[in-house]
Amino acid sequence: MQVVIERVAKTFHDRRGRDVVALGQVDFAVESREFVALLGPSGCGKSTLLGIIAGLLPASAGRVYFEGEPRPGRAPVTATVFQEFALFPWRTVRANVEFGLEELGISGLERAERARHYLDMTGLGGFEGKYPHQLSGGMRQRVGIARALAVEPAVLLLDEPFSALDAQTRTLMMDELLAIWERTRQTILYVTHNIQEAVFMADRVIVLSRRPGEVLEIVPIKLPRPRRESQQGDPVFVQTADRIWGLIKSQAQAALLDDEIVAERGP
């Protein structure tokens, strides 16, 4: 099933009643079983767009829809992996993973079975009974990923999932996410501001401009799969990353200055 983002725009109203255009007009589609990265400088509205796709934020214009052969007996759902993990501290690892399944009305037995499956897939076997505060950051985000995979969403949304982790853990987690994707071919929309991350993992990289966010270019990544860390030295990898950096460098610089001005004016 593909996800279509059709002419989606978002305007916020700030406290003084002025309009702030976060998203200009965004058009793209994520094909079934595709790994798409959404890349842009800070403040380009990529998290806003993800919120709209997840149904957590109303769009000011345009719409998001799923298209394709319906899966029998259930509506297509999205599932989000949050940057700050957003695990329920009062639930054990297993209960966190079962949360989405409870809301789908899935019976206890099947819930336990599905949770078991995805806990094993994400390397959380043996941690089912722990509470989130007993886990390291990397393990917590595994719970976040397992919780999202468990609902078997039409599209899995990841909002800078590894940016709260240290560099070594991030590299390992990226490898593991890719391995999971190779096995499941789960449709993924992955938001990041890290070019290497986007090029390393995605089939296509959608480059967004600075506020108001608009699609600058959609860059296909022609690296063979399965991807290996060693490919980061590959000329194709380096050229693609350079090209994307060329696209957003001036934008990022402008965003930097912009942020400073905002900070000066701040309360």
């Binding site: 997840a54 149904g55 957590l56 759902v77 999205t78 599932a79 989000t80 949050f82 700050e84 957003a86 329920f88 501290p89 009062w90 639930r91 949360f99 989405g100 409870e102 809301e103 789908l104 509470y131 989130p132 505060h133 919780r147 609902v151």
Partner: protein, 265 residues
């Protein structure tokens, strides 16, 4: 050339706060001992301040004759009903007002206007409405417990992490599911703080109500003993109240630790 060596010392030593466990026990024992001494030497007449040993003996006597239990049971019964009703209503109202904007708009000003009324001042009115029996005393305790519970629960609900709320909604949680699975657990620490506050207030109002209109209960026991100049019996009542306060605080703490297992530490 002379070489100087300056060793770095820990400059935070004076900030340390040791537990002094033995001192805690000794302080309490010391107080009782001093009290006993003051009364034994006849410094203070036992009519005004009976000795701790005398109070203990009188207490044991009252336990043996069953008198103490009669009063204690009546008080506990009123406490249980009043505390239970007030706490439940407080949590219910707190969650409703915290979650639903309309309920907030309706109830918040009403609570703001009624909260400052000293609840004991309502006892005569409650007696008019509910009669001189148990209901009016239970009602005054319930009212006293209701306000801190409602206000604390409300604060707890408002403090629920918006990120967790978003996460729950993104996984399909509706209104009731969200309240049950995210809002209530988020508010639990504040609810327990309210329960501890409410327990103290309940005891205070109970004794006051029993001293105004009752024929049994710890409050009645204290008032009656005072009127008859039976200071030892009076002190037994006061010690029982102190024990009740300590016991309820301890029990609520134990309950909190059992319910909130996910806490750090």
């Amino acid at each position: 050339m002379a070489v100087e060596r300056l060793v770095v010392v820990d400059r935070t030593a004076f900030l340390r706060r040791p537990d002094y466990r033995a001192v805690r026990v000794l302080a309490l024992l010391g107080l009782v001992l001093a009290w006993e001494l003051v009364t034994r030497t006849g410094w203070v007449s036992s009519l005004f301040l009976p000795s701790p040993s005398g109070v203990l003996a009188e207490g044991l006597d009252m336990v043996r004759s069953g008198q103490l239990f009669v009063h204690l049971l009546r008080s506990l019964e009123r406490l249980a009903w009043g505390f239970g009703i007030g706490a439940l209503a407080g949590v219910g109202v707190g969650v409703g007002v915290g979650f639903f904007a309309l309920a907030d708009a309706v109830v918040q000003p009403i609570i703001a206007a009624t909260f400052p009324i000293p609840k004991i001042a309502l006892l005569p009115l409650l007696i008019l409405w509910l009669g001189i029996g148990e209901a009016s005393k239970v009602a005054v305790v319930a009212l006293g417990v209701f306000f801190p519970m409602a206000i604390n629960t409300y604060a707890g609900v408002r403090q629920a992490d918006p990120l967790l709320i978003r996460a729950a909604v993104s996984f399909g949680a509706g209104r009731w599911s969200l309240i049950r699975k995210v809002i209530l657990p988020s508010a639990l620490p504040m609810v327990f703080a309210g329960l501890k506050l409410g327990a103290g207030i309940a005891l205070l109002l109970l004794v006051a109500a029993e001293q105004i209109a009752a024929d049994a209960g710890i409050g009645f026991l204290i008032l009656q003993s005072g009127n008859l100049m039976e200071t030892t019996r009076l002190m037994v009542g006061i010690v029982v109240l102190s024990l009740l306060g300590v016991a309820s605080y301890w029990a609520l703490g134990a309950l909190e630790r059992a319910v909130i297992r996910w806490r750090h530490t």
